[in-house]
């Protein structure tokens, strides 16, 4: 078995581009997708016709205290020109007690900015009124009820990034594993598989040597990507490590089993090359690797998602991390994935052996 295993490594080291390419693609996709969905400030261009530049300065600084918004001082003419050129949709005219939008076209961020400014001015005006009634007293706004949602406020921005990392990594790992498994198919076609059968190696060892290799490669790829991506987006995968590793392992095993099944079902290499992207993308779409499954509202699609290994892997990992689950509590996704592996592998190897006999 070790000889077969070592042989696969030797072949990979001589031709590592495929695996490296998919790893590179994963990193690129995750940074692009997670980067665009992460904590981005909304930029708002502001001007004033009534306030002095000092007053506007103070006002803008106070507005910029919220980390979600960035107010930028500009002149009315510049903003008008930019809106005319459609560089952005709107600007804000700030006053002491009021604000007005200068709108060229509707924009989705306008509602959020409007809400923020409304709240800001209401508080500012109330304070000003109270101050007028009780001159000389030191006043500040106080929240009547303070809700601390610590864990989720810290994670909220990260949940999206985390699901993107998990989804994309698992999605691309399907590609690299299945494309590596083309080797298995080529070996069967070119006759080198038979060469191995003529040697004093049993079929079990032969299959094990190949399978262990694919699982190792997949596992190493996923782990490396998790480490690189969590550093890159500064997200920590804190959870029950054995549970997380077990989910990853059973997912990879499941993909390898699917690979065996597909290899057994296809007749030519080109057929397999066509099937792989279709299967990988369909599984990822149905399994919620690209968008949260909560937005899916169709009973059939919800059922289909349950059949996708990637769903159990991504959501198993997310729940283990977010809900701080123990290994025993995470056993459900692990056992579902292992069950799928046994099923696909059993059918796949059976078909393959029937064909070769």
């Amino acid at each position: 078995m070790l000889t077969v295993y070592a042989l696969q490594w030797k072949r990979l080291i001589k031709k590592p581009f495929l695996v490296l390419l998919f790893m590179g693609l994963t990193i690129m996709m995750v940074t692009v997708v997670a980067g665009s969905q992460g904590n981005q400030k909304t930029t708002v261009r502001a001007f004033s016709e009534t306030l002095s530049s000092d007053q506007l300065d103070t006002l803008v600084n106070t507005l910029n205290e919220d980390e979600n918004f960035h107010f930028e001082q500009m002149t009315r003419e510049d903003i008008q020109e930019d809106i005319r050129m459609d560089r952005y949709g709107y600007g804000v005219n700030l006053d002491t007690e009021n604000y007005r939008f200068l709108v060229g076209r509707e924009s989705q961020t306008m509602a959020i900015v409007d809400q923020y400014l409304q709240q800001f001015y209401r508080e500012k005006n109330t304070l000003a009124e109270v101050r007028a009634d009780f001159p000389g007293s030191d006043l500040e706004a106080n929240e009547v009820v303070k809700i601390q949602t610590n864990s989720l406020t810290e994670l909220s921005g990260n949940i999206t990034s985390m699901s993107v990392i998990l989804g994309m990594t698992f999605y691309f790992s399907i590609y690299s594993i299945l494309f590596l498994m083309l080797n298995l198919f080529e070996e069967k076609k070119s006759g080198t598989w038979n060469r191995l059968i003529f040697s004093p190696i049993s079929k079990t060892q032969l299959y094990l040597g190949h399978l262990v290799f694919y699982v190792t490669i997949g596992f190493l790829q996923v782990l490396t990507l998790f480490i690189i991506l969590s550093q890159l987006l500064s997200i920590e995968f804190t959870g029950n490590t054995p549970a997380l590793l077990a989910i990853t392992f059973s997912y990879i095993l499941c993909i390898v089993s699917i690979g065996i099944l597909l290899t057994a079902l296809s007749r030519t290499v080109s057929m397999l090359q066509v099937i792989i992207p279709i299967v990988a993308t369909a599984m990822a779409m149905l399994g919620g690797a690209f968008w949260p499954l909560q937005v899916v509202n169709n009973a059939f699609l919800e059922f289909a998602a349950e059949l996708m290994p990637i769903k159990h892997a991504v959501y198993g990992m997310m729940e283990t991390i977010l809900q701080n689950r123990s290994f025993l509590e995470s056993i459900q996704p692990i056992s579902i994935l292992l069950l799928m592996s046994v099923l696909f592998m059993g059918v796949g190897i059976n078909l393959m052996e029937r064909v070769s006999r």
Partner: protein, 298 residues
């Protein structure tokens, strides 16, 4: 104990009967030539011996073990070279040879390997995808001969080799034979079989049509005789052990049943023979004769 023992082995693929009650055996230290036309069932027999195919009926045993059930155990003691060698395109020849040898589990005899590479004039540094058919065959042959197997199975091993390398192959076969190993040589090249084999088994349409010691088989065949004599030889025409009697200029040419050589010599005694040429029986003639008679029967 027989190295190979095949008894009434049959294999059918659907309706097609590929092998029909094939039986032959190979003793220790023997070289068996397994010959027959294309599609006769040579490769099917070899594949059954290697445990790749399960026989429909009959038994195939190697070293007294069942070829199908004990394939892994058997493979430890045999070396196989197919006619068309498939290798991993991105590994070098040397790496593949090491791989084949390491799969046997025994330590690799580096000196022996080097000597074989030299004998076959083989460059192990090139990638396998760059090798010609002959070079790919050399990879398999070197790996086979470098392993100390008890039984060598060759399935048309020299179809891509040049005559010089073919001779190296024959030398190596003689060496392993001297060591006491047995060889099953399935081949088209009858001169090669003739040069190496003690026994032959001829297969045709899935049936063994002839099997036995090469010497004994040759006895069954005819020798071509070319005689020039001062007296007429026409009385020979009447003998039932003389065939295809004809005259070529001043010479007489005929075929003689090889076991009647003594009779011929006594007949020629008083004929003042000035020239006597005898072409030894060739396996090829025997094979062709078998072929023709079989076709007539068909």
């Amino acid at each position: 104990m027989k190295m190979i023992k095949i008894e009434s082995l049959s294999k059918s693929f659907g309706r097609h009967q590929a092998l029909d009650r094939v039986s032959f055996s190979l003793g220790k230290g023997e070289v068996l030539g397994f010959i027959g036309p294309n599609g006769a069932g040579k490769s099917t027999t070899v594949r059954i011996l290697l445990g790749m195919l399960k026989p429909t009926s009959g038994t195939a045993e190697l070293f007294g073990q069942d070829a199908w059930k004990d394939a892994v155990e058997i493979h430890k003691r045999i070396a196989y070279v197919p006619g068309d060698v498939n290798l991993w395109p991105n590994l070098t020849g040397g790496e593949v040879i090491d791989l084949f040898l390491s799969m046997r589990g025994a330590a690799v005899d580096q000196d022996k390997k080097e000597a074989l590479m030299k004998a076959f004039e083989f460059d192990p540094t090139k990638k396998c995808r760059a090798y010609s058919k002959g070079n790919r065959q050399k990879v398999a042959l070197i790996a086979a001969f470098a392993a100390d197997a008890d039984l060598y199975i060759f399935d048309e091993p020299t179809s891509g080799l040049d005559p010089l390398q073919e001779r190296v192959f024959q030398d190596q076969v003689r060496k392993v034979k001297a060591r006491g190993a047995s060889v099953l040589l399935s081949s088209h090249i009858l001169s090669e079989v003739e040069a190496l084999c003690d026994t032959v088994a001829i297969i045709r349409n899935g049936k063994i049509v002839e099997t036995g010691k090469l010497e004994a088989l040759k006895h069954l065949t005819r020798t071509q005789i070319r005689v020039k004599a001062e007296r007429s030889l026409d009385h020979l025409k009447e003998k039932n052990w003389i065939h295809d009697y004809s005259k070529d200029k001043s010479e007489t040419v005929f075929l003689l049943d090889t076991n009647h050589l003594a009779d011929l010599l006594s007949e020629l005694q008083n004929c003042n023979v000035t020239k006597f040429e005898s072409a030894p029986p060739k396996l090829e003639d025997f094979f062709m004769r078998h072929y023709e008679t079989d076709e007539e029967v068909d």
